[in-house]
Symmetry: C2
Subunit: 663 residues, 2 copies
């Protein structure tokens, strides 16, 4: 058993409590709030390190592996065993379970769940309420009430947040964020060990996408630089077909890579946007064993079945209604607005007016998007989605709808109605350069500004209270307080549903749409995108390592709804590129189906066929992953089928003979 214990557990969770003001604590009745909390933490088995900050006190928590193991067993956590199936964890049988690649026993995601369970699982086990004293007030801790919830609701525990592990963070900084010469290579396994599946999946996707982008980037540049003369008319459609095939293949290979990664990380999760959730729960190993559903399903009675069906359809109708609301409001409210802006921009002559118009537009669109995001979040809360990942995906679709309209409609307007390819290219370059450069700058500076401001305010307040420039140096000894001042890694819309990856994926998807949908109008866009993505990898790494607090790990192990969005963008880009080609070749604007136009129409249909046909050529899951999984399932089954059988027939024997007697 000792074999499993690790040398020294790092502090991985922080709890912020108010600093004790000495003279206000009376003697006599009641317990001091913070002291009790620390004592309770000790009782659970956590190692507590108390650090005094400017205004607050920080409790740094660490847990030895055996304490984590006990919590995991209480949580009934499922964990991969040596035979490859996931079984409920039990500390006594710890040898049966596989260790992580870096030698630790639990993954970061599992550790986080255990920590949360321990921290929020402290309840008042005595029979009477306990009076807790904070600096200036008393709190009644009722029997059976969880302590940390109570203190959080009384604003005594200000925050509970995961802490960076300084040693590993530095290592990652050196080997990942500052390692510019690796271009698209990243230490994905280390990222997984430190941040969990979701963030590692994002970076794996970003790396692979960027690597694949080099091909169309080179092709696009070639098209821009070389003059093909009379062949020009044939080169562009060829480029178009190559790009679409490239995109289709990329996403199929990404699915394969994703399942390979999951197999390496020993996570059971089927890849493929839809199947991910559908089959997840049916397998041996399910992360969330949707207990709600199971409980409701008492026995195979017809009435139960009807209830089930009614609920299912009601939920579906609700979701449909919400989607309809969003789609209609996008079409009825946002579309006219975007078109009006594009039209005004086209018709206004003076540059100053254009500038003013754009300023007004940007201001309005900011407001609009914020509002739309809020409405979406509100709508989604009504939906009875089965789990939080479903809900997050639902939000992703809705918000992306807004951004889709906002990003592309104006450009399409320039392209199709006015056939103004110069403006189109201008707008594309603007968007690509400005959005990439500015957004990267913003993304990296904004959290730093936030952090600096919070730090500055804290120091000012402190100084104000202490009235005098005393011991300025002692202010920032504690790293944990610095981390507390850093902003949370969260999405710009709906903080509670999505983390900062939402913004990253949105940026990627909008970029992908921009370069794909207008590929024929501006082939070198791919090169811009490739360059900016190489920068994006390191910038994002730096941001997540240095600018933000350590994010809360999430279970999602695929890119989820974004995969569908990318697929959707491919289909849309087939259509838009056909329109663009038609416009390019049909300059007179009389829209007659000359052989050329007919050829484009045929090409569109062939490409759509390719899109839906080719995805069948590349299987989503490598055979060896599948074979491995099957081997595991068979092994587990053989191991315990006899045992299981005896259990069933033992319980059921009476039943069978009973019914027979009744006959």
């Amino acid at each position: 058993m000792d074999a499993i214990k690790e040398v020294q557990a790092p502090f991985e969770m922080g709890v912020v409590v108010p600093k004790r003001v000495r003279d206000q604590i009376g003697v006599g009745y009641g317990h001091d709030c913070v002291e009790l909390l620390v004592a309770e933490f000790h009782k659970v088995g956590l190692i507590v390190d108390r650090v005094a900050g400017l205004h607050d006190e920080f409790l740094k928590l660490a847990a030895p592996v055996d304490i984590l193991g006990k919590a995991a067993a209480e949580l009934q956590l499922k964990k991969r065993t040596h035979i490859g199936v996931d079984i409920q964890f039990e500390w006594d049988e710890a040898e049966a379970f596989i260790r992580q690649a870096d030698g630790s026993f639990f993954s970061w995601c599992e550790r986080f769940r255990c920590y949360s369970h321990m921290i929020y699982g402290i309840v008042n086990k005595s029979e009477s309420a306990i009076i807790l004293k904070s600096n200036c007030r008393d709190v009644r801790w009722e029997p059976g009430e969880p302590l940390v919830w109570k203190l959080e609701s009384e604003a005594i525990v200000k925050e509970v947040f995961p802490l960076h592990d300084e040693r590993k963070r530095k290592q990652l900084l050196k080997r990942w964020a500052l390692n510019w010469w690796d271009l698209t290579n990243q230490p994905i396994d280390e990222i997984y060990a430190y941040y969990g599946t979701k963030i590692a999946t994002y970076f794996a996707f970003l790396g692979m996408y960027t690597k694949w982008l080099f091909f169309p980037a080179a092709f696009g540049l070639l098209l821009q630089l070389v003059d093909f003369g009379s062949l020009q008319l044939l080169v562009l459609p060829f480029f178009f077909i190559c790009i679409i095939s490239w995109a289709v293949f990329f996403f199929q290979f990404w699915k394969r890579r994703n399942s390979t990664l999951l197999a390496r990380w020993q996570i059971s999760y089927s890849v493929g946007a839809e199947s991910a959730y559908k089959y997840m729960d049916t397998e041996w190993s399910s992360f969330h064993s949707s207990v709600g559903l199971v409980k409701k399903w008492a026995d195979g009675k017809a009435r139960e079945k009807e209830n089930f069906q009614r609920e299912e359809w009601f939920g579906r109708m609700m979701r449909f209604r919400n989607d309809a609301i969003i789609i209609l409001s996008i079409i009825c409210l946002q579309l006219p607005f975007e078109l009006a802006y594009a039209h005004l921009y086209e018709s206004i002559g003076s540059d100053i007016m254009k500038f003013g118009l754009t300023a007004i537009y940007l201001f309005a669109i900011q407001y609009f998007t914020q509002f739309g995001g809020k409405v979406s979040v509100k709508l989604i809360k009504d939906e009875q989605n089965e789990n939080s990942e479903y809900r997050a995906n639902s939000l992703v679709y809705k918000v992306f709808g807004l951004y889709f309209m906002q990003s592309y409609i104006g450009i399409l307007y320039h392209a199709i109605l006015h056939r103004n390819f110069r403006t189109l290219r201008q707008v594309l370059i603007q968007r690509l350069i400005i959005s990439e450069v500015l957004e990267n700058l913003m993304e990296n500076s904004l959290p730093y500004i936030k952090y600096s401001y919070r730090k500055y305010r804290a120091v000012r307040n402190k100084r104000k209270r202490e009235k005098g420039p005393t011991a300025r140096k002692s202010y920032f000894t504690s790293r944990v307080e610095k981390e507390y001042f850093k902003p949370i890694y969260s999405a710009s819309v709906g903080k509670e549903l999505e983390d900062g990856l939402f913004d990253e994926f949105l940026e990627l998807a909008l970029q992908f749409g921009m370069i794909m949908m207008f590929a024929c109008a501006f082939p070198p866009a791919f090169a811009f995108a490739a360059l900016s993505n190489v920068a994006e990898i390191r910038a994002d790494a730096l941001k997540i390592l240095a600018m933000y607090r350590r994010p809360v790990p999430r279970v999602a192990a695929t890119i989820g709804a974004w995969l569908n969005i990318f697929q959707f963008l491919i289909v849309v880009s087939i259509c838009t590129n056909c329109v663009l080609l038609a416009c390019l070749y049909d300059r007179e604007g009389n829209w007659d189906i000359s052989p050329g136009l007919a050829a484009i129409l045929i090409m569109e249909h062939v490409l759509l066929l390719i899109k839906f046909g080719f995805s069948r050529i590349v299987p989503e899951e490598p055979d060896w992953v599948k074979a491995n999984r099957m081997k595991n399932a068979t092994q587990a089954q053989n191991m315990c089928s006899k045992q299981l059988l005896r259990n069933i027939s033992g319980g059921r024997g009476a039943f069978v003979t009973g019914t027979h007697k009744a006959d």
Copy 2:
């Protein structure tokens, strides 16, 4: 245990052996072949009934349930238990397993597998070869050799085939085949009990399809009979949109119905063309536990992985090559042929010439299709498909490609190039009426003619040999001999890969394509189809009950590849209908994109969107089925997770400490 035994086991298998010619059997060395076979059958526990026929002797076999149970345990058959998971069958724990809806212990499919196992499992257990004597020759039965294989290869056992259960057959005839007034209702559960999943699934699909067809049939007739005046131009596109939505919804609801049926029949099998095979094996319960793959996968070594990947890609390339061959040969050989016929038909004036041309065409196409089918079968045999259902699907796709070209290209030619809507409608009516009526007649009369011919020949031979009109009445006392004369229910292409359902599905798919692809040109086609399908249900039932031998049951529990073909036809029909509409509204043939044509193009894209979007609205699997499955999995897991854990850590404890010491 006695509770499980059934009153009287029906005879369900027949073995055909030559009749004994009394005077040719000498006394002395060796055993009589048939006698030994019967003795061996008795030894296994089978009940044998010997019936003398005209030329042959028939051994009718029946097995009591305990004998079947022992065979099932030997086969390691997986069977659904009371807690809902499928576990390897063991006779001692028989109470743990669920009975069929009709009270029998094994389903027909399971019984058939057990019978086959018992019949073909008889081997020579002695140490020396046994000399068997048939009528006029001797056979050496070597040690360890299966008896029936041997006798089959020596043509002594002529055939082994499943027998009809007369009582149940009569019941089904009355309640199903002759019950015309039920229209689309059929006793699906009884069909399942008698024929197994695949045939029951076909009839469930046919029934549901016909029922759903009534709506477009009514709509189509309305369009034909009522004159909408100036609204005519709007009614047709509206009809088109309704039809496409109808088709999309129908197939989604069919998937739901399929999973409901499988849940009712206690079969674990995910619905959905792709997922069916992909996830089937990952679950607790897999019909074929692809042992090959598992065996090859020794341990997670990198070299193994590479081998796997190489094999995977090689297999995929082979399949891709085969598909390319088929597609290219269809395009390069069949397409010109079809176009030539259509063109000649269009350009020839005289009716006699047309008739002659059609005769030649029909003759040639018959030959062509046969040839194509044979090539496909040959190609598929090269492919290393993982299981027989995969292989069958591969054949389905290839053969359907041939028929698709053959059925629709000519019609499209008339419609698009010549805009000859009169010919189009004529051809449609011809095909619908002639194909339905004639094919039904053919289908039902051909097996009867075959049967009659075989019977006639047998009687003639008999009479010839006996030289004289002796006891004519005694010829046909045995029902089993009549059944032996009936033809096998097999496909017209590739007997070894598919059964007769291939032809039925092909007919349905071609009909579906015909009515969908030309819906706008001829709306009342739906009414034709609905009528002919109502007749088809009963005709097929009659055929399968009375005209053919009882089919060998198959495991496939979905409509498999056909689902994809139907979906493909929907997509194609979106495109063709758009073209038809464009032709209808653009009579002048100058092909300019007037607002009307642009509207049609937009409509096409919207409909394609609907096609791929709407399938997300209706989930493939009802929630209650999913919840049930999850409950079962959870239950099974909880029951044996501790046991499993102990097994693993018991075996692995040494390993873990060993590696630790090495550190």
